[in-house]
């Protein structure tokens, strides 16, 4: 069990780091889908190995939501956005370095949890936490609205992985509420992004600087 979960979460972290590195929108959405599939596999693996059939249902719902419905919405949101060339002198090297630093930070912050955990999945908890921290980093540093939304979704995925590893799934009512919330957030984001594009002819966050003070 430990080997399987560790491997899945490790691949998830690699995918997350690639997402920081890549700049093209289609590639980033594909990486998000890959991350979501890995997490769905993680849920299924934990459900199977720990004898919790309910987690198999969670894995299926998660797969449908994060690997199919939400990516479709993301494609719709991006439709019509010109593929932006990277400004010269701007590379993802620094961002990648900072993301690496976040992995170390995740290990330090999460220390009280791993110190008391007796679960076979405990070793992977800091990795999942690092995934969510990197997602938050992508969200905060996103240069357009799409980047920020994608970062938020990666953040959310990391938290899902964290919850799985630390608790083997939350009560069903909460899990259902979380999925519903994520879906509604993305739908609302789509509405807002569409309107921003109509108003500003662009989705750069620099345009959203009217309100100050």
């Amino acid at each position: 069990m430990t080997a399987t979960t560790n491997l899945l979460v490790f691949f998830g972290l690699v995918v997350t780091l690639l997402l920081v590195w890549r700049q093209s929108w289609p590639a980033r959405v594909r990486l998000f889908v890959a991350q979501s599939i890995l997490l769905a596999l993680l849920a299924a693996a934990i459900g199977w190995l720990a004898g919790k059939p309910a987690l198999l249902v969670v894995a299926l719902v998660f797969l449908g939501l994060k690997a199919w419905i939400i990516p479709r919405i993301l494609w719709r949101m991006a439709a019509g956005t010109p593929l932006r060339a990277l400004p010269p002198g701007h590379s993802s090297g620094v961002a990648l370095l900072l993301a690496g630093g976040l992995v170390v930070a995740a290990y330090v912050i999460i220390l009280p949890i791993t110190a008391t955990a007796t679960l076979p999945t405990a070793d992977a908890i800091p990795l999942a936490f690092a995934m969510s921290l990197i997602g938050l980093f992508v969200c905060v540093t996103g240069r357009d609205v799409l980047g920020q939304v994608l970062g938020f979704l990666v953040f959310e995925n990391g938290i899902f992985g964290l919850a799985l590893l630390a608790t083997y799934g939350l009560p069903g009512l909460v899990e259902a509420g979380v999925f519903l919330d994520v879906l509604v957030i993305v739908l609302l984001m789509e509405g807002v992004v569409m309107q921003i594009r109509r108003e500003h002819d662009s989705i750069d966050v620099d345009r959203l600087r009217e309100l100050r003070g």
Binding site: A115, Q148, A163, L170, L173, V178
Partner: protein
Amino acid sequence: MSLIVLLLAPLAGAALLGRATGAAARTLHAAALAATLGAAAAVVVGVAGAGTVTALDGLLRADALSAWMVGLIGIVAALAGAETLAGFPGGAAGESRRFYPLFHLFVFTMLLAVTTDDLGLMWVAVEGTTLASVFLVNFHRTRASLEAAYKYLLICSVGIALAFVGTVFIYFADAQRIGAETHALRWTTLVRWAPQLPPAVVELAFVFLLVGYGTKAGLAPMHTWLPDAHSEAPAPVSALMSGVLLSVGIYAVLRFKTVVDLAAGPGFTRRLLVLFGLSSMAVAAAFLWAPTNFKRMLAYSSVEHLGLVSLGLGFGGLWGVTGAALHLGNHALAKSVLFVLSGRIRDAYGTVEIPSVRGLLAAMPVTGRGFVVALLALLGLPPFGLFISELMILGAGFQEGWGPAAALGLVLLLVAFGGLLRALHSMAYGAGGSAAAAARETLTWKGAAPIAIALSLLVLTGTAWPPGLASALERVAAVMGG
């Protein structure tokens, strides 16, 4: 039973109002408001009699703290809802179908957050408050309101996701000790098992919970969404957000604070609450020294007052905790009145810039006087309730050995006081009370009565406490563990 009615009233209202238009919608809106207020009163009375009220096998549970919040939400929702009874100034006929259902859905999510015993469901409900109110913030569909709605949705979603991490950590600590009991995330279960939870884990969890729910509560430095959302939303929505949504954020922190204090001792949560309280008051004071936009001014004042509440909770002791609870109520009343009136002023003058609003008292005698009185109450002058609760909070600081922090809080309060007073002076007096404004002051008793009632309640909490208030506050403090 009363809890189920309390939640069904706004939910049914929201569902039906999605289909109604015109006069039918307005009648239905009024009926839903009245039903919600009535059910809230029933819950408050029920809790006063029996101590706690439960429903749905304990999933819904109201104790003294919940009842306090239910009462506040009921009153502020009625006050804010009454402002839209006559429809929307300058709004198209179809607008009510966008506004009314979301308004009641917003009220429903807040009521659910404070009446559920399951802290996971509470999280879902608090997230629901954001989702229900995003389009209310963007109701006017201007560039500025769009930007405000986007920031609100993104920042609060991130914040609330951090609170989810904290909830997961608490559940982790809990499930490790007691096994995956079905009710492991129930507050009542957690309180029972709290002394056995590992202190390091619950302390880490509390940091995430305070930052997360503190974002919803508008504590600095996570407050950045608040001035935008409060100033761009229609006035009644601002009243709801500022009056009770922020308090719901504090409520969520409080539920966890009780658990963390039992597991790790109260020192840790107190230090953090004092820190966030002071930083909020400092950020607000810096802006309030020279405000230019009166809706943003009211919004920053909310950051200040929620900071003060956080300070009171951090100081602790009976005075600090009861003072903080009372201050939540006083602030909810004063600020919702001010936001409702600021909407009328904005409609009359066509601006939210403080320098452009002159001679308010002459131009709009009733609204102007209400605004001046409510702002004086907000400033913490007697005979209004905020004077008493601020005294209780700062007094608790000196009593509990937080002297320097309390003194700093007092200085920050005075800075904000000066700025607000100057703004008030500039708006209330001076020549140039435009004829347009005078012509629009067409106030009926329906528009004046809710304001008058709220202001009289504030005088009551500041002078002669109505019977039951003292014992209610004592029981709120008992729930929080002093």
